[in-house]
Symmetry: C2
Subunit: 213 residues, 2 copies
Amino acid sequence: MADLSRSHADQTRAEITRVAYRLFINQGYHGTSMRQVAEAAGIALGGIYNHFASKESLFVEVLYEYHPLTRLLPAIEDLQAACAEDFVRQAAHQFIEHLNERKEFFSLIFIEMVELKAAHIESLVADFVPRIVALAQRFEDWPGELHPIPAPVRMRAFLGLLMSYVLTDMALQNFPIPGMPDNVVDMFVDIYLHGILTRGNQHDKLSPDLTHP
Amino acid sequence: MADLSRSHADQTRAEITRVAYRLFINQGYHGTSMRQVAEAAGIALGGIYNHFASKESLFVEVLYEYHPLTRLLPAIEDLQAACAEDFVRQAAHQFIEHLNERKEFFSLIFIEMVELKAAHIESLVADFVPRIVALAQRFEDWPGELHPIPAPVRMRAFLGLLMSYVLTDMALQNFPIPGMPDNVVDMFVDIYLHGILTRGNQHDKLSPDLTHP
DNA sequence: CCTACCGATCGGTAGG
DNA sequence: CCTACCGATCGGTAGG
């Protein structure tokens, strides 16, 4: 019975977090009222404060609950790859797949940066930076294939290109561009691979078979 | 005298817009009150409404006043270039230079997308899309040098990579990464050029002289 | 977990 | 361009 009631409280807390996420990403932090959260969660305003000390602590919970690195990083760390190209293609695939599930996460990051002045972002990314740096080093496992670009820059270009794909994909939802194909991700990856690999070691020519595996 | 008074009214309006810009990008839309704007502009609250019908119309004015494409696009359109590589390097230089002056503009875009639900963005970009598409076509002026990538994708990768540079540059202000060099932009451009140009036509090898012109 | 309430602050306006 | 004010809504809490 004690277990059941605790479980029910957890459910309520999870429901509050879930609806708060949807409201925050659609209206922003200051544009979302605790009354809206309460109504969407099906409880009274005061009920929220049995689970969260303040609106800000509710936002922090949402931020941690919905950031994609928790699941994305292990997925990439576990990849087995025979060469740099293989690794990049697999990592890009994982990256896009996880971020597509969490597309609205970028809105959360912006809210955190602008509306909450990045007060909590440091503790959020601190855990992940060393693991990302370690990932960047794995490129060195395949010597002789790479242009002489510093590892942090190579990693940053990778993250940046894919991030910009997701962002422009969101932005272009409302503005279809004539001549924009479906498999833009694969082409971005091809551009990136041509950009970082020396010519001898890539399966070159952007054939449709290669960009459409 | 009529001229003087009109000029003074314009000055006040410009000052309101200026301080509103700073407040919006630092606190968000709903996080900024008209009273804060009034105080920062040195006038009473009611005075704002002699210049702007509402808070939202003030935001729209800020959005138009501070978006970088007004000056960036003509600068790139006027570029003279002998080859694709030259064009890309000059365009990237212009792009970064203009966006560095208007770095906080991204915050405005996010505010517009999240807090104001992208209500005004359509009319803002509508004027620029055809000109950007036209720019993408200029790559075709140098035939035989390009990988067979659709023009919109090539343009999108260019904008995306540079945009992601500016964004990560902002984000990494607070988290210096060991081993991250100063001339990341040049390296990004090199990666991009290797990515879109066929091998024969590029001044290859990323020598320091080339990445540090 | 709800009801009823607090002081504070919001965007906006009338009238001068 | 300011003073003084409007109704509405905010985050949060006491008490049950």
